[in-house]
């Protein structure tokens, strides 16, 4: 319990007294006595008021400009000459005020833009308000803890359990080079932790890789698209991080709601530039960042090691690259490493967990039908990946990106629910990731001819009618609505963010304003644009809700019955891999093509 303080608040500025009024309200709520004076009070009058009220704190606000410093300095001088300086604490706030100003002007503290009301209250109460205290105020999100994964739709649950049973019995006794490498990687990590070099394990690992990767282990050559980061680059990065982290203070994007957490995806190709972007994203309020790997990484068997960079979309996964990125993150930042689609899925989960990732991403169906990986292979690898994720207690999202190829939402959702229910059977924590997008299905059927709201809400309503599970629309929200123009792009992103917030979802992934630009990597400024826009949209929405038309409920029922129908067909088929090949979860006409990477690599093992 803090002692009640007597606080004089004086705006020495005709317009800028809003900040002081807000602080006054907070101080009054905290039980302090306050006196707010009009902006035209002179320094002498303010000091006289301090004497009359026997105040112990005075807060003045003033926008800096030429001559204003002298005015503020004189105020402090008068306090000193009046014999009050030692008895009261005095702070100045306003645009452009920094601690150096406060020092020069003789104040006890200076509050610049971005100062919170809490910070000012802490000053009044004489509590030290450190950056660390500020950082801990920002919530570190737990996306799954509020959910019980209770199914509300008995028939769908029955069908999903039937399919899960098929998958588990089918995958029993099967393995792949991807699983072999993942197990070896676990063993290598253990040996390394015990201080051994794991040379013989790495030899064995190399035998399970494509040539371009095995060459790294046997000849020391790199993938032709990558180069090693030099020691000087890494040292410079470490210095940069130290300096930047000393200035970091995480801001909260949300206004009065506690959800959703906001994720951004990085993947410039270079860990250093990724870190540059991550720090920008964190500074502007991102709650989580998603590691985006290069597309060749999904098709090439095996991972290299070391600090590696390249000039293509997506950053190379190596143990060192992941650790380097992890070391740059604020404690409050959630980190997801995507594993979902390729022939390295199980090992990605192992590496992610060991590097300290909070989340991963696995979807057998999307990876098989839209991600280019052979269905059988990804089914075997996916089951093992989910087991790893369960073992590491690392939640993962199940994304439905096949919608972008043209697969209708109900089929994509059926696939997502199959993987999610399989995960539940294996003790894992899945997060549903429907898209908020203007997908080919939507365009063809005109679902968004009137608005972008109804169909997206219909998806959420349908999923909620089936199961009580966390929902994280992505990735990114507003996909295929954004153009290269930054204002349009940011507006579209932030309106979709408001829609997601209105739906009460757990998290969202947002684009940068460069989302639709495909000529090169995203620029940092474009990340700031959408984060600022999203913050503003949360501010705009508050606790209010976006109301859909009656169309949403109708579409939601259509999606629901579509899902049920697809699941019945899959259950009927009896062999999940065959269901994928046969197009039950997306046909070639829909735009779904069973992938070929890793075809014929699944082999039988004897227990």
């Amino acid at each position: 319990m803090t002692v009640s303080k007597k606080v004089v608040l004086a705006p020495m500025d005709p317009v800028h007294d809003i900040g002081l009024k807000m602080i006054r309200r907070a101080l009054n709520e905290a039980g302090h006595q306050t006196w707010l004076y009009p902006p035209d009070y002179s320094a002498q009058e303010i000091i006289n008021a301090i004497i009359e009220h026997k105040a112990d704190t005075v807060l003045v606000s003033r926008t800096l400009g030429y001559g204003v410093e002298e005015l503020l300095a004189r105020f402090v001088d008068l306090l000193d000459a009046a014999g009050l300086r030692e008895k009261i604490r005095v702070a100045v706030g306003g645009m452009a005020i920094r601690p150096e100003f406060a020092a020069e002007l003789g104040f006890d503290a200076g509050f610049g833009p971005g100062t919170t009301v809490e910070e000012a209250v802490a000053f009044v109460e004489g509590r030290e308000y450190t950056l660390a205290e500020y950082a801990t105020q920002k919530k570190r999100y737990d996306l799954t803890s509020d959910y019980h994964y209770t199914f509300h739709h008995a028939n769908i649950k029955k069908l999903l359990d039937q399919i899960a049973g098929q998958i588990l019995s089918w995958s029993q006794g099967k393995s792949s080079p991807g699983i072999g490498r993942a197990l070896l990687r676990q063993a290598i990590i253990e040996e390394n932790q015990a201080g051994k070099d794991a040379a013989s394990l790495k030899k064995e690992y190399a035998r399970l890789c494509d040539e371009v990767i095995s060459n790294y282990y046997t000849k020391g050559t790199l993938h032709p698209q990558t180069r090693r980061l030099e020691k000087s680059e890494l040292d410079a990065l470490s210095d940069y991080l130290k300096l930047t982290n000393s200035r970091m203070r995480a801001i909260d994007l949300r206004h009065t709601r506690s959800k959703p957490a906001v994720f951004v995806q990085y993947g410039t190709g270079c860990p250093s530039l990724d870190i540059g972007h991550i720090k920008v994203a964190e500074a502007w309020g991102a709650d989580g960042v998603v590691h985006f790997d290069p597309s060749w990484g999904a098709r090439t068997e095996g991972f290299m090691e070391g600090y590696q960079t390249h000039q293509e979309d997506g950053s190379v996964i190596t143990p060192e690259n992941l650790q380097c990125i992890k070391s740059s993150l604020l404690d409050t930042t959630l980190w997801q490493v995507r594993a979902h689609r390729g022939v390295n899925t199980p090992e990605t989960v192992v590496l992610a967990a060991n590097a300290g990732a909070d989340l991963t991403k696995i979807n057998i169906v999307y990876g098989s039908l839209g991600g280019g990986t052979d269905p059988e292979r990804l089914l075997v690898d996916g089951v093992q990946s989910i087991k790893f994720a369960a073992g590491y207690n690392m939640p993962f999202d199940v994304v439905t990106n096949e919608e972008l190829s043209g697969v209708p939402a109900h089929k994509a959702f059926a696939g997502m629910l199959i993987v999610a229910n399989l995960a539940l059977q294996l003790g894992a924590q899945p997060i549903l990731q429907p898209l908020f997008c203007n997908s080919p299905e939507v365009m063809i059927n005109g679902y968004m001819n009137d608005n972008y709201i109804d169909f997206n809400i219909a998806k959420i309503l349908a999923l909620r009618e089936i199961v009580d599970a966390p929902i994280w629309p992505g990735a990114p929200i507003g996909f295929l609505t954004q153009t290269e123009e930054r204002v349009q792009s940011s507006v579209s992103t932030c309106l979709h963010a408001a829609l997601a917030a209105s739906c009460g979802v757990e998290a969202i992934s947002i684009a940068s304003s460069d989302e639709a630009y495909s000529g090169g990597p995203i620029a940092a400024a474009s990340r700031v644009d959408t984060l600022k826009a999203v913050k503003e949209s949360f501010r705009f929405l508050g606790k209010a809700k976006i109301a859909p038309t009656e169309q949403a409920a109708q579409w939601s029922q259509e999606i629901l019955s579509g899902i049920e129908k697809v699941l019945a067909q899959v259950a009927q088929e009896g062999d999940f891999a065959q269901s994928l090949y046969k197009g039950l979860l997306g046909t070639r006409e829909d735009g779904a093509y069973p992938g070929r990477a890793g075809r014929g690599t699944v082999y039988k093992v004897h227990a």
Partner: protein, 78 residues
């Protein structure tokens, strides 16, 4: 260069992110960049510094109201 700039109706904006220790440093850097780009009548429209640096919009006015506008000249440049 002067001829190309004549096509700009009023101002050239540069939108970027500057790594800097504070807002002042970011403003200095962007002003220098604009000057080095040959722009004369420059201003920093917007600058917000957080953590690693500042999101900046710098502006170089090519023509202000009342100037003789390059884009009002005839096709032969007169």
């Amino acid at each position: 260069m002067a001829h190309c700039l004549d096509s700009i109706i009023d101002a050239l904006d540069v939108e970027t992110f500057v790594v800097a220790k504070d807002e002042n440093e970011a403003k200095e850097v962007i002003k220098k960049i604009m000057t080095e780009m040959g722009l004369k009548d420059i201003d920093v429209v917007y600058c917000q510094h957080l953590g690693p640096g500042a999101r900046v919009r710098a502006r170089g006015y090519i023509f202000r109201a009342g100037d003789k506008y390059g884009w009002l000249k005839g096709a032969d440049g007169k």
